[in-house]
Symmetry: C2
Subunit: 230 residues, 2 copies
């Protein structure tokens, strides 16, 4: 007895579960209903009845939204709409070990792009205090010297400080989240490659030079990285 082949479409997408559907429906509901953060939402039972699924399914969907920070729940208070941390969800999946080669390269290029574009924000917001701190970091390189792990730590500290100096918290966090990815890439290199422009050179430009000079300096500092991605 041949079945009717319910969905003949190459047995496609059908892997969507009820929880997936409810998640989407809820997200739409939140967006279209013009709720503001802090507003109370219907209770689980009501959602379940309204959607025609068990409370269990609703909870699985809500569990996802909770993780993303889109809603918060308290014992009797019910649920309220919340502001998600847009980078928090990003952070969870950023594990170099499971990201494919292609995406790793993309992320690497993304950071290079940011670094080159940083000059404008830096010159807009740099302060004498920040530059002094940056210089301290740059100088500390000479002391610690040659060991691989120290070198990486130093790279992280210097470039991280640069991002922090832009006053852009989101960008700064974003960069620090990308660090494990680059740490992973750097360890693949055999020996340290010193660019023509050192960290101290960059600090000097920041103190005395122009935006354009800094950008050119950064380009040369990252030169060997750019060569690799060609």
């Amino acid at each position: 007895m041949t079945k009717k082949l319910p969905n003949n479409e190459l047995e496609r997408i059908a892997n969507t579960t009820m929880a997936d559907v409810v998640e989407i429906r809820l997200r739409e509901y939140l967006k279209t209903s013009a709720f503001k953060p802090g507003d109370a939402l219907p209770k689980e039972i009501e959602l379940a009845n309204s959607l025609g699924v068990s409370r269990n399914v609703v909870r699985e969907a809500l569990s996802r939204l909770r993780m993303l920070g889109m809603v918060e729940t308290k014992k009797k208070r019910g649920m309220v709409l919340a502001r998600p941390d847009i980078l928090g969800s990003f952070e969870r999946v950023l594990d170099p070990a499971i990201i494919d080669e292609h995406t790793l390269r993309d992320l690497f290029e993304l950071r290079l792009t940011l670094e080159v574009g940083l000059a404008d924000l830096l010159y807009l917001r740099k302060t004498a205090k920040d530059i002094a701190e940056l210089e301290q970091i740059a100088k500390s390189q000479k002391v610690t010297g040659d060991k691989q792990t120290f070198r990486i730590q130093h790279e992280i500290a210097f470039h991280g400080k640069l991002y922090q100096m832009t006053g852009n918290d989101t960008m700064s966090r974003f960069q620090s989240m990308l660090l494990p990815v680059f740490g992973y890439l750097v360890t693949l290199e055999k020996k340290p490659i010193i660019g023509k422009v050192s960290h101290l050179d960059l600090v000097k430009i920041l103190k005395e030079g122009t935006k354009e000079e800094f950008r050119q300096g950064m380009l040369q500092h990252l030169e060997h990285h750019f060569k690799k991605i060609q």
Copy 2:
């Protein structure tokens, strides 16, 4: 009858539920166990017993990991480790309506930074075909003319094409995900602001000029945006 006060520790600020704990434990487990994508994982019941919680709680945690794309599940096959789509999770929470002002500004600056830094990748990968297409987009502006929505559509098309020309899929997707955010910001402006350097000017530089000229051109093209963020 007074109970024994199970945990006296100032009753933990944290509202952490079992599902939260299990989610974290599972993520650690996946990272430390050196699984590769495609490897099979223990079944729900085993995890539940092993962790001392109900299957329900395990499913809520797994539901989150499933959404992030870290694991995939099939009916009898069980669970397998999967490659998460690193931008997918980002996309879900990117709703301009619920992102706070401060973060919106940060994202705006992030895009400006990328745009300025784009020159190097562009000159590394641009092709005659891409430039021709870009020129078509730039020219189409003159035709459609003045209406607000058309202008925004055109902006999106032009800058989107630029990102696509970098050959960096991740960056391109990232930019397109940020579009709703900027669409939101742009609609707040009363009237269109035309920079000194038009899209057609940028195309011309791409065809005949150098990296540095393009970067300067882009800076001037975005000039009024940079003025706003000071």
